[in-house]
Symmetry: C2
């Protein structure tokens, strides 16, 4: 590999001059800069990121926490998070940052997430998909590494979420408009910011159309657990007053409920309507297409990168940067075939 030393030798100047010329310092002669630059290009010079990082203490590397819950739902929640990841990556790269996956126990060396971050000297970390109840994730959040989270809120990080309340209100409003009066909500993992917001939105939605809130129509399940949601949907239909419309925690769960109810002889949406949440590409490909809420993963991922880089570059002068902040990204109602006119 060609280094600045080689360039210096060939150019007849010192290494510091080369360094300064390549980094755009003003105290180098104009023609010298020209000579050095063209020679560097000609020799195919690439700076050594490691050496630069060692000296400047900046790697232009972003840590990424992105791991799927084992067992349950493997390969399911993929679509939603991988869309966010792609948008995140694209934006980060446009700012000159690379991405490193952060994991624990790398090479059996029992490194925690935070230790891994230190080892790789990442400038900051984005937590896009993780189990927040994990102590190691909490340790990461408590650390002084700049941090941005998706779908989670923490006092020391920037948070990016969809406007979940709005999403639920939209679903309830549309269902009401189609004549539904018994609208149930099977919600995702309890006690998470996302679920809390969704429940609030659901109740607000009911309230704004004048429907009463019924505890029996609010059921707990999980995210991306098709079978669990299917089971809960089935349970709902056994009520003496079964709902005419069921809102699910996500598109996969909705597909699970849909399949189960059809197997049980219910026709969708004729005898019962079903809605998803997320609006993954797939939801509009399957038949019937899902009525769902499209989360703007593109914006979420991009914003996540921007916020993180902002936190990094504003650095430790913590004046202009709040310790924590929360952004809600607008969502969009997607009309599909699983929510129909209420026939009762």
């Amino acid at each position: 590999m060609v280094t600045i030393k080689d360039i210096a030798a060939k150019c007849g100047v010192s290494v510091s001059t080369v360094s300064k010329a390549l980094n755009g310092y003003s105290d180098v002669g104009k023609d010298t800069v020209e000579r050095i630059r063209s020679l560097a290009h000609e020799m195919g010079y690439q700076p050594n990121g490691q050496a630069r990082a060692l000296k400047t203490n900046r790697t232009y590397n972003l840590g990424l926490l992105y791991y799927i819950k084992y067992g349950l739902g493997t390969g399911m929640s993929q679509a939603y998070f991988s869309e966010i990841l792609n948008a995140f990556r694209a934006k980060a790269e446009s700012y000159g940052y690379d991405i490193t996956f952060i994991s624990k126990n790398i090479g059996s060396s029992n490194r925690s997430f935070l230790e891994h971050c230190h080892y790789r000297c990442v400038d900051g970390i984005a937590i896009i998909c993780a189990q927040f109840e994990d102590e190691e994730v909490q340790e990461l959040l408590r650390s002084d590494l700049p941090c941005v989270t998706i779908d989670y809120v923490h006092p020391r990080a920037s948070a990016i979420l969809s406007n979940n309340q709005q999403g639920m209100r939209l679903l309830v409003a549309r269902a009401y408009q189609l004549g539904h009066r018994r609208i149930a909500f099977i919600h995702g993992t309890p006690h998470t910011p996302v679920t809390n917001e969704r429940i609030r939105g659901y109740r607000e939605g009911l309230q704004s159309v004048g429907l009463p809130f019924a505890q029996e129509y609010l059921i707990q399940a999980d995210f991306n657990d098709m079978d669990l949601c299917a089971q809960k949907a089935q349970q709902l239909m056994r009520l003496s007053q079964p709902p005419t419309c069921i809102l699910c925690p996500d598109d996969y769960s909705a597909m699970g409920a849909l399949r189960r109810l059809r197997q049980l002889g219910y026709s969708v949406p004729e005898s019962v309507s079903i809605c998803g949440f997320d609006g993954i590409t797939l939801s509009q490909i399957v038949s019937p297409t899902l009525t769902t809420i499209r989360q703007d993963t593109q914006t979420m991922g991009a914003l996540c990168a921007e916020r993180l880089i902002k936190r990094i570059e504003l650095g430790n002068q913590q004046k202009s940067m709040p310790l924590s902040d929360r952004m809600h990204i607008p969502v969009q109602f997607l009309e599909g075939e699983t929510l129909g006119k209420c026939r009762l």
Copy 2:
């Protein structure tokens, strides 16, 4: 951050002793090692990867070429490749390697893939999902960076592919068994190793059951292009002797064909059967479930990592390491609902 210097000072020994103690060299006293180790642990020491890399010229970082073709099929081919990616990542991490996405034009600095690799000093590169006709990808392959490819063959890299021939033979055999005598094949991107192997497998399959090969039943399309495949399927059905079974290049394409043919009034599989390829999770969730070939993405990804690391660690003594090699991973037939008994 705590460095070996700090440990050395606190421990009353020199930095090199600390370095040696932590790296398991034999010429350090047993109790000294003990003292240093426990102190390092206590102080929360983590080695600085950058500094280590600078000196040893090894980063334990693997470059990953993984970018989706723009426009067409975005978010579609995801499932297959992201399964491979996950397996790759898991295996690489178990060997102590991290992963860095490689891209061009990072931060508008117009770096090529190879330059990006040099900048980050990756030890090797895995090309999991890329456009191989891209000159920059070829440059990467020509370089002396250890390299492993998925679904592509190059004289200077290890290649991992599914046993595509076997897959096609299995499909043809099963279709024949169900009474089909007019079996068409809409193939993926032409002149790629995968397509070539598939076509060969298709022809072998026909031959082994004694069916003639008909040029009009071999149609060119693309991978993961639902609309194109749908259009080609429609075209096939307009033949005077339309096929009774259509084999598609991948699951998404199959779903496209399925949807289109149903829209046109054909019932699947009653009046025409359809098969996919890949066996993504989704294919077994949708209704009807797809008859398809499951590619063993788990093994492919894991093997990809292992081969790459082997190439790296055997290093430049190129005796035991062939310049190029090719591995074919067995596939599995997945019985679904889209391939049925032939009713003609």
